[in-house]
């Protein structure tokens, strides 16, 4: 039972990372119908920027916040400079552009910081928590806390601020939003900025566990896809929950089903995607978008 609880908690911790990235994917998808394949690599790049600042002697939380700010501006700049010119191209052309971004980020990071794995510090104490007989890693618990905090902030932003309302309106109905004076183009850019921030949080939280390298986010992004699919690409809350579920299932299956072990762990996440898609293609919390013919 102790092992079970420990596995669930560490599953929730990794699930939080998937949730953050899944939320980033869903935000961009809702606003523009495009899945940003470069989301994970942008997050990896932001994590390297944080690493550089830490190496220059900036204290952890200072570097953390500065990285979030840089990621925000970076996301907006990428939307304005790279995505906007192909706005009206066929969707697949935009997908190819995000794939181009993916290889650029990956290759540049390898060029600037080399492919050598780098240790990344955690801001949380190394001493584990003890709750009864259950031992919980402090980083795991801290990770869950940070993820929940970020989610709460974003919920409050979208629910209670005029800007959040404007962004939701722009994603929901761009033409009418433009008519009431919302600058839809800038709302999309802001969405890219916010998505980059979530990605950066996920990157900085996962780097201490996996050690920093240019291919840091490859696997994470696939699990984030699984999470977003599970919860539904049309529902931000669902995507977050989906991320957590994928994290927990991944951990439990790896521990208890012996023939799967770590070798077929990946296949499990993918099997989950396929099963969800077959049973309920829109995900658990997604809604079917009715299109007029």
């Amino acid at each position: 039972m102790d092992i079970f609880i420990q596995q669930v908690v560490s599953g929730l911790a990794t699930g939080g990372i998937y949730a953050a990235l899944a939320l980033a994917l869903v935000m961009i998808y809702q606003a523009t119908d495009v899945v940003n394949f470069a989301q994970g690599e942008m997050a990896m790049f932001a994590t390297y920027i944080c690493w550089t600042m830490l190496n220059a002697g900036v204290p952890y939380w200072g570097a953390f916040l500065a990285t979030l700010a840089i990621a925000f501006v970076g996301g907006i700049v990428i939307e304005r400079v790279v995505i906007r010119p192909v706005e009206h191209a066929p969707i697949l052309s935009i997908v190819i552009v995000t794939l181009g971004l993916l290889v650029i980020c990956n290759s540049l990071a390898g060029w600037i910081w080399t492919y050598v794995q780098k240790p990344f510090p955690t801001p949380f104490p190394s001493k584990p928590f003890k709750a009864g007989d259950v031992v919980l890693g402090a980083h795991d618990v801290g990770e869950i806390g940070i993820t929940l905090l970020v989610l709460f902030c974003i919920y409050a932003f979208f629910r209670f601020t005029p800007l959040g309302l404007a962004m939701r309106a722009a994603a929901h109905n761009p033409v009418s939003s433009r008519l009431v004076g919302i600058r839809v183009g800038w709302m999309l850019a802001l969405g890219w900025g916010l998505a980059a921030v979530f990605g950066a949080v996920a990157g900085m939280m996962v780097a201490p566990v996996l050690t920093l390298e240019p291919n840091l986010m490859g696997g994470v992004q696939i699990y984030a896809f699984a999470g977003a699919t599970l919860g539904g690409f049309t529902s931000p809350g669902g995507a977050v929950l989906g991320g957590f579920i994928v994290g927990v299932v991944e951990n439990l299956v790896g521990t208890y089903v012996s023939f799967i072990g770590t070798e077929l762990k990946f296949t499990v996440a993918l099997a989950m995607i396929i099963i969800v898609l077959l049973v309920k293609p829109t995900g658990i919390f997604g809604t079917t978008v009715v299109k007029r013919v």
Binding site: Y29, D33, V35, V82, P85, V86, A89, P90, I91, L92, S93, I94, V95, I96, V97, L99, G100, L101, L102, V103, I104, N106, S107, L108, G110, W111, I222, F225, A226, T229, F233, E263, L264, F266, T267, A269, L270, A271, I273, I274, L277, L278, P281, V293
Partner: protein, 335 residues
């Protein structure tokens, strides 16, 4: 000259040049061109599905892998002649693709892309798992076939001609398929599947069949690649292969048969150029190429050529107004 005769002459010229290449090129260059033809077959398969039928696939690398492994296992375990393995691989992939296409019918756009994407990710792991058949991560080493009938060709030259022949045959088949009644049904489903159904097109059957044919083409390409490289290993069929095929299809031009060749040339040679430009970060250069290509020609290379062709004809039409209706063809409308 009439456009039709012009096109036929151009096609014959291209094939003639392709037949002359093996006698003027080094073996390595020749191998690269063999690879271009193999990619072209796979991209054409993907293009039929994505460009003509409007179903997205990020997992065609999986069918490529199945084709390659079917061919390799048949040659390695049962000593089957390589020529027989190619149709077998194609037919097997057609069946697998058809079966995969049945449940995939429920999925559209992004969701289908994700389902196929996960297929592509799972395949290398599954291949490693069935170690007894596939040789695990060591893969299977094969030998290149020699030219038959005592022809004075090196194995590389012979394989080049085999691949070229298979490619021409498959391109001819798909051009005929897409031009006829079936092709119109496939395109109608892409443009408006409800209207297509109202016109009496059996959409589920056509969608699954297109998936099957597309997977079959890709399987043939995989089987050819097993002979051409003389080695198969699970990690060469990773998700990047699927992504590369999609890049080839979009850059070459969706809903265009000649686009498959342009796309294949792109994915074979542009990474090499990128490496020549910058040893340190070749993939960054490749990414920049991708983005620039999409800026300049959002409908791919074939789409850009078509637009250019229409424009030159328009300017000519302005002087001879009686033939205006022939210029009414428009740029491809792909979603």
């Amino acid at each position: 000259m009439a456009p039709r005769a012009l096109r036929a002459a151009g096609l014959l010229l291209v094939i003639a040049v392709a037949c002359a290449l093996p006698f003027v090129m080094s073996n390595f260059r020749l191998f690269q061109f063999t690879q271009v033809y193999i990619y072209a077959i796979a991209i054409l398969g993907l293009n039929m599905l994505t460009g003509y039928n409007g179903q997205f696939s990020l997992g065609h690398g999986a069918f490529y892998a199945i084709g390659a492994y079917v061919s390799a296992i048949m040659m390695d375990k049962w000593n089957v002649h390589y020529a027989w393995t190619i149709p077998v691989a194609g037919i097997l992939c057609l069946v697998v693709g058809f079966l995969f296409g049945l449940p995939a019918l429920r999925l559209e756009g992004l969701y289908l892309a994700l389902a196929t994407f996960s297929l592509a990710l799972a395949v290398p792991q599954i291949l490693k798992y069935f170690e007894h058949w596939t040789g695990g991560s060591q893969g299977i080493v094969l030998s290149k076939p020699n030219a038959p009938f005592g022809l004075a060709l090196s194995p590389d030259q012979w394989l080049y001609f085999v691949t070229l022949g298979v490619m021409v045959l498959l391109f001819w088949l798909s051009a005929n398929l897409l031009r006829g009644r079936v092709g119109r049904a496939i395109v109608a489903i892409r443009d408006n599947h409800i209207a297509a159904e109202a016109m009496g097109v059996n959409t589920s059957l056509y969608k699954s069949l297109t998936f099957g044919v597309s997977a079959g083409y890709t399987g043939v390409a995989g089987a050819l690649s097993a002979s051409a490289i003389a080695y198969v290993a699970p990690d060469s069929f990773n998700v990047f292969l699927s992504v590369t095929l999609l890049i080839g299809a979009v850059i070459g031009g969706l809903a265009s048969i000649s686009g498959a060749v342009f796309g294949a040339l792109f994915i074979q040679f542009v990474p090499n150029w990128a490496q020549d430009i910058s040893k340190a970060a070749p993939w960054a250069i490749f990414g920049v190429f991708l983005i620039v290509f999409m800026y300049v020609m959002p409908f791919g290379i074939a789409g850009a050529i078509r637009l250019l062709w229409i424009r030159t004809r328009r300017s000519r039409v302005a002087h001879a107004p009686e033939s205006r209706e022939t210029a009414a063809t428009q740029a491809p409308t792909t979603r």
